[in-house]
Symmetry: C2
Subunit: 203 residues, 2 copies
DNA sequence: ATAAATTTTAAACAATCATTTAAAATATTC
DNA sequence: GAATATTTTAAATGATTGTTTAAAATTTAT
């Protein structure tokens, strides 16, 4: 049956995601979530049993959201330079669409890593992509600097994610307005693409 | 007068720094701090008036700690390649010594930037270093790719800080032990140095 | 339509939060 | 050494926390 009105459980889940991303687990109260969802406070526990369980459910989704698009790109049958460019463009778009996502993930995992890693099959998927094969082949035939996935992938991702995670401090440090930052981020994106490609691709 | 026993105010300040860095502002209670300092709960407010005021005082120190060493290096009269290498080594050492510092700063500023920027003269100092002059001269005489400080500095810093901020997720993603990560981080440090230098320095 | 199951509600729970109080203990001053 | 100022203490403040309760409202099943 198709409902025109959203189910309460989903309303709470979506509200909780927004609040958790903005305020973090510690900074979020059950009442914050209920208010954001415009629902009675008791319903968060009626549907999810506890704030902790609701959080873990949402965190799993958020972590998959973080990796999913990148995973698709990593498996594309395109040349390395295009692949790097696409990953960076994708990262860039993600940071603009969900500015809280990466710092949220980083901070929550940093504070309590043990509780946040369930059966993450997505991790295995990231380790075993077509890019890995491309790196091996490139290293073998001398077109690429020999590097492992775990070395090149952070180099690709850190540039964009770092300046967006630290958007406010970068704005303050270099006296930028929001508009300035937009232009700056675009410049930086191209620097990163060129820098990483120059380093990885030989000749 | 020299006291052999530490002053209560300093004991609280140092305890508060440890707890805030580990748990963040929202995750820290006044009782956590009092317990860590092994002092009565009322003393935190006796000396600092409120948890908020204590936090702001500590945050200012932490932010200066983050920039101070880098600032010294940026002003050194050494060639660009050595300077980049030193900044990265310094960052690396800082992340090992204070693993919570950068993610703490990033997260707190991200959550509430407006309240955390006092008269930060250190920001101006970072903008006006000898490195800036070196970049201008290098661009003018063709030895360096023309880049602004705000473009090159994040490229230098993001690599090391990113993998340490995300240490636990990188360990999980690439199935590393703590020992593995140590070796991995060392490798990565050298990749970053080479990559950034190759990109900035012409020929 | 009636009964049963589900969802929503207002109210309350004990625990903990940041902060304050006022008295006790200690240190300093004269 | 008495008077004063400072520091520390235990206890309490009212507000807020996550969670539960039991009744009311609504939906579903018969």
């Amino acid at each position: 049956m198709k409902c025109v009105t959203e189910k309460s459980e989903d309303k709470i889940r979506e509200a909780a995601k927004r609040v958790f991303l903005k305020k973090g687990f510690d900074g979020t109260t059950s009442r914050d979530i209920a208010k954001e969802a415009d629902m009675n406070i008791a319903l968060t526990n009626y549907y999810f049993r506890s704030k902790e369980k609701l959080f873990l459910e949402i965190f799993k989704d958020v972590l998959e959201e973080y990796f999913q698009n990148m995973l698709t790109i990593l498996n594309k049958d395109i040349d390395i330079k295009s692949k790097i460019s696409e990953i960076i463009d994708n990262d860039f778009a993600m940071m603009k669409k969900e500015p809280d996502l990466v710092i949220f993930i980083m901070n929550e995992i940093h504070k309590s890593p043990q509780r946040l890693f369930p059966d993450m099959s997505i991790f295995r998927q990231v380790r075993e992509t077509y890019l890995k094969k491309q790196l091996e082949e490139g290293a073998a035939n001398g077109t690429l600097r020999p590097m492992q996935l775990e070395n090149i992938l952070p180099l690709i991702k850190c540039g964009v994610e770092f300046i967006f995670m630290g958007k406010e401090i970068h704005k303050e440090l270099f006296m930028m307005t929001d508009e300035d930052f937009e232009k700056y981020a675009e410049e930086q994106k191209e620097h990163i693409k060129a820098m990483v490609c120059n380093y990885l691709v030989i000749g």
